[in-house]
Symmetry: D2
Subunit: 453 residues, 4 copies
């Protein structure tokens, strides 16, 4: 039976009940609901609403319920409309009508917002930890694969030689931004709705600052109408999740490419690969494809919530019940995905010879232009000359570094040192400004990244 049947004469249509009930998903808030209720009982006691004995009985009952949830012995009833109702119903079974005092001055509107924030304040550190572990693996790979050089790409065309360590670390920083965003979100989430009632505040002299302290929030919400309807923290969490998803999808795309036969830079461990039901030779990077695909799904979760929130009148509307499923799904997705990617990257075999072989001399055309620049030629002219050299090499079907001095002279280059430009290792070493791919710069970057893990 719902908590609110007093004014109603009929009972709810069963299909409507099934649509309306949130228990199938808000069960996940069980521990938070009990924690919030314990704190609320304390606040009611301090406000003089509950006697010490009443307070003790209610607290004992709630702790029994907490244990039942923890030990998975709590029995839900068909008639429990939601987790709040289930807990209050069970409390009544345990301590009798006194249980009915717990909901004094409280509404499910402030209660569910509190439960959900509590849940998220626990989920964020878990996601953060999983990101941190992935970052650690990236740093370890950067250290372990030190000295390996590979082609860097733009537009997926070979561009300039880079260090593999630099490449690994290029995925570190996006995750650092993700963690920074999550940390700021956690601070914004730690604003307590409890004590805001249904919309207008509570009529009992509850100390909301003390309540915030008791539940680990930083401050109470300042406006009760806003507090019961604010789902910014949900949207922001889903945005953070979508952004993590996008970052992982970019990593995944790159790994998928590098494990193709054509690139051949990486081999996945069998433990992180799958095969084909039909083609016996296949070894597929499914886990990375799932990472890429789930980025799409995560974007969808964000959109779903934003579209749901758009255009609602202020304070609580039932539409807000759509807020929990996407958060649970996003959290589960990230907590499933991140450890797998971490393990998969940790166990990847790299093929330095394939990477080295993929460094076409034409990738040093910029170095050729820079060589001319250092002779005082304006870069734009140097670029044009280097471009002509590339075209000449293509026409002659020869690698760029195999052009003869006669060839170079037709391009106006007479210094025989030009033939020494085409050394990838040297090329890398020149890119030594902060953030560049030169070993010294990458070492410095590695040190910075290690401070953050």
């Amino acid at each position: 039976m719902p908590l609110w049947s007093g004014r109603f004469t009929g009972t709810m249509n069963p299909t409507a009940w099934d649509l309306n009930t949130s228990l199938p998903f808000d069960q996940r808030l069980a521990a938070q609901d009990v924690r919030g209720s314990v704190a609320w009982a304390g606040a009611l006691h301090r406000a003089g609403v509950l006697t010490p004995d009443e307070h003790a009985q209610i607290t004992d009952g709630l702790q029994t319920i907490a244990t039942e949830f923890a030990e998975n012995t709590f029995t839900f009833h068909e008639s429990d409309e939601d987790i709040h109702t289930a807990v209050e119903r069970r409390l009544g079974e345990l301590i009798g009508p006194l249980a009915g005092k717990l909901h004094t001055g409280r509404s499910r509107n402030d209660q569910v917002a509190t439960d959900f924030r509590l849940w998220m304040l626990e989920a964020i550190p878990q996601v953060d930890a999983a990101l941190h572990t992935l970052q650690t693996t990236l740093v370890q790979r950067a250290e372990a694969d030190w000295g390996v050089i590979m082609p860097g790409y733009t537009h997926l065309q070979r561009a300039q030689p880079i260090l593999l360590s630099h490449w690994w670390l290029s995925f570190f920083w996006p995750l650092q931004r993700d963690r920074e965003r999550l940390g700021q979100l956690a601070a914004r989430t730690a604003v307590l709705p409890l004590g805001c009632g249904a919309l207008a505040g509570t009529a009992f002299p509850v100390d909301r600052a003390g309540l915030a302290d008791a539940l680990g929030f930083s401050i109470p919400a300042q406006n009760s109408l806003d507090a019961v309807s604010d789902r910014d923290f949900v949207a922001e969490f889903l945005f953070c999740a979508a952004t993590v998803g996008v970052h992982l999808s970019k990593l995944a795309e790159a790994v998928i490419l590098f494990t193709t036969a054509e690139f051949g830079f990486f081999t996945l461990a069998d433990a992180y690969s799958t095969g084909s039901s039909l083609m016996p030779q296949k070894k597929n990077p499914d886990v990375f494809e799932l990472a890429r695909g789930k980025a799409g799904t995560l974007i969808g979760l964000l959109v779903g919530l934003l579209a749901t929130l758009k255009g609602l009148p202020s304070t609580y509307d039932k539409d807000l019940q759509e807020d929990k499923t996407p958060v649970f799904q996003a959290t589960d997705t990230l907590l499933a995905l991140l450890p797998v990617l971490t393990g998969a990257l940790d166990t990847i075999t790299i093929h330095p010879a394939r990477m080295r072989a993929a460094i076409d001399p034409a990738m040093l055309a910029t170095d050729l232009a820079d060589f001319l620049v250092k002779k005082g030629i304006p870069f734009r002219e140097a670029h044009a000359t280097a471009g002509k050299a590339v075209r000449l090499a293509i026409e002659k079907e020869t690698p760029l570094d195999q052009l003869t001095m006669e060839d170079w002279q037709t391009l106006g280059i007479t210094d025989p040192a030009v033939t020494q430009v085409f050394d990838p290792q040297k090329s890398i070493e020149t890119r030594n400004a902060l953030g560049g791919t030169a070993p010294d710069a990458v070492r410095q970057q590695l040190n910075e990244s290690k401070k953050l893990i």
Copy 2:
């Protein structure tokens, strides 16, 4: 054990396995998977790959499995990677190594696409039927509430009087478009992937046209590479679902408004209302708020899939595994929502007097302008004069129909018939062109709508 372990030396990391397995959701394809396998066994038999006896054994085994699914006695194993593997594993238990012949010339790529299309070809008619039932209720309301007049709104401001029956039917036509789209989608879904193998087709002389017939598809897919990767039918289904969602959200928004104390046009039955845990007087239109909110969620499901599909290379990529969950969720949402809304609309109490009282005489200002037009005054001038009349009435704090003949004369109107303009019933009757709110036109519309249900 997966189907593809031959070339692998290690086993899969457990967290990677958990991420990779699709069994938790593709179980819903169990019946379709068996149906598809029965047809495939038939095709292999006709192609000479299976002897009559082998065919009979396999078919018997599959029918046993179908029964197990139907009776809910099928046992999944931890090691079943997906529904296809589970069925093949079980078939092996039932008939021995012969089971291994079933997958000849088939891949999970064409298999899952076939299963999923079969599933959708069953789901679409269910959604269609639920839409049809809602349409029927709208038609019934239009008939039952015949003659009731109410204010029509634009920009949520009172605009012109309309018939309530006209208003009910305004929700009929969007659903008709939804059903039309679903019907066209069903035709596009009935294109068979089976027999396309992993990507390149099958090497056994399978009669794909016959296979299509056997499974109720209209034609076989024309290109195997496209067939295993085409998820247009999924995107289109999610678009149809989102569009239904948007239509329901508009209906819901209107009903929520009309059940407010301020509008007071509708009262929901208790069976389709909920109350408040805190405020004893509340009677809330939760089911309509959920309809509105779930429109957002449905939009998100569409986006998630589109974003997942975007940028994939052709043929099968594992990202496509993200396709099923949103379809199941969208289908479940619509099949839960539509009957509840149908019931809720069916049982709404209307308040004709409140509706009639809400027809402010100023809502007939257009009729006033039309009155002047019929005297030969250009509409634009007539509109301006009517606007001035409205302003005068506001300034005099009197209803528009209470202006005196002196007032009218200051506006240049001398015909006393002007005072007879302000009859909502007459106003409605004038809007008699096809599609308008006049009783004759609405009766004609009603007849058209009844042909479609």
Copy 3:
């Protein structure tokens, strides 16, 4: 001055005016607005509202305006609120107060919906034609590149050999589905809102069926409330555009991969490539990257509209003004993108030798399994044996087709014919069921596709 100032005492705040005006974008509806007005004047005339002479004057004036738009001599005024106002204002300048009769019985609500549908009924065939041209190029490439074999991929791993012609055609069919959807959308768009007034229909005896005929619509809308607010056709167009975008993004992704140095299957013509401001050797597939990127943008346009529509009360709300910009943007995007991709594909140089060289013998492991199947071994066991062969070849660091008879015997295969399995051409020829990659099947597919262009 707006059309509606009669009842207002103040003028609009300039910033509010700037926000409110739709002229900056609805100018694109100029020709349609005039066409609709000509038809409306005709309907008013037939309804007896306009005399023959008035009708002639209005029609002449409108035709002058049409010419001004066509010759780009029409002058907009700051005070034109929208295209409708601009046309009516100009008509007044041309023919005097009689112009004020044109808006009799019409509202901007039915007018803009009509204009927009007219616009889209012209835009859809343009998009369709651009799709058709791209399809034609795909067919031409399939014919021109006949006989070339290439590796087919799943999960971006080499899977089975296929014909390049088969691959080209795999992009034909998705576009065919797009065209089919656009055609069905056009039919749904050809439902006329004009004559529905602001919301309740028109009070003048207008023949809406005749009006529909005159404007090339198939039928008049059945419900005026629905007609002025229905934006399904907009959402559906944006969905079609997003789906085209997704299809192009998949093609683009594949082409980008195939033009990498690592794949090396394709070279783009210089006319469809770009370079780097810094790296002289670069030749980038920008146009395909833009195709891929714009798929994301197109998805966003769809979402924006759906989110805007969600939760609106019925009939016209100003939110609907957000409908035009995304349609214009999506149309422009497709009409810019499709011809460029057509040209780029038409001029691609293919490298058959690189494609052939990429066919690793392990790609015929399925053929090896099929070879065993034809000896009566159940496929599942054959698959396992082929998998072991692949593993053995990897361990021996030898191509699969270089295993010795001793090797094969350790796997239980004694028939020396096994060594003849590894012929890609034969492999392709076996996949001869409808839709497969065998030359006969692809020839048949080509014939089917040619019927559609």
Copy 4:
């Protein structure tokens, strides 16, 4: 002519050029591009690449260009591929081949990322200021409308009486969260890409920390590969914009409701209202409808960018060119919308009597329950009793506060003080805990909000 034609033999196809060029939109980065180039010239000078004289000439030339942009005298050429090319081309016209030295060690990849961040670092404070102004108006309304009481709603059903000042402030706090997010985003945006080259860093000894200082960035980006491809700041800006949009849409929805004839709480100023081309009496809240509708569009802009970013390989891909249009559109939308809403709220006329009249005595049913609670009855039982009282009043068709003592006694309530419960003012005063609607609590909230503006 593009900057990169050296290696190309053909020129670009004109349709491809039109697709590829970004000048139509990246012109908006003109001032930022010049600023970044001036700083880069300084860095090249300090690195010894430019002599003092060269540096002076380049700087002078750039300043001339800056003036040309500021005075709108800069002429773009058809052949300018983008803003960077246009500036470099013009510099060449002004100072000759020396201009070709400016691009030394720089790529358009790091350049455009820098320009765009500079642009956003200017746009964010503008959006912030517009939000701040709206907040100020909300605070002013809260002060000006002090003492007015109105019904508060949940589920759009009358719930509990509240202060109008409390309601105004409920829109203050969401904007405060928006501003907080924008501030954190600004900090994340102030990370400098310049000096990262195309992808691998720069080969000249540029002091990137000094460069960051010169351009007002806080630090240089740590990883060049990440720096040229990171578009987190774009996604985050679009998320912030979408969130602002959602907040404004909620405010708009409420205002639209309150300006209906049925609610009648607000009248918009004529300066912020529009009328109807057909219906002379209409006064429509278009600006609020546009705010609501544009929230949908803003959500779409976010989605478009996220979908574009998803699945890109790392470093620069041309897809990223899709990043600017949505940011410009979102910024323009917010800067157009916010001042209009500010003006509209500032000039709204409120109708306190209508608000007061809308406070149905049943809205004090919670107070009735609280009255019983204070007598020691458990809340749950008190809630049930109050619910029965509501039902009784409905059955008797009497307001709840008109029940007789006999009625109360049938419900078990004998204390005549019960009849004094139904005073909205007192009800409000009891909700005095922090964040509640009691005057003292709202006064405190007002003080907190004033500290933030």
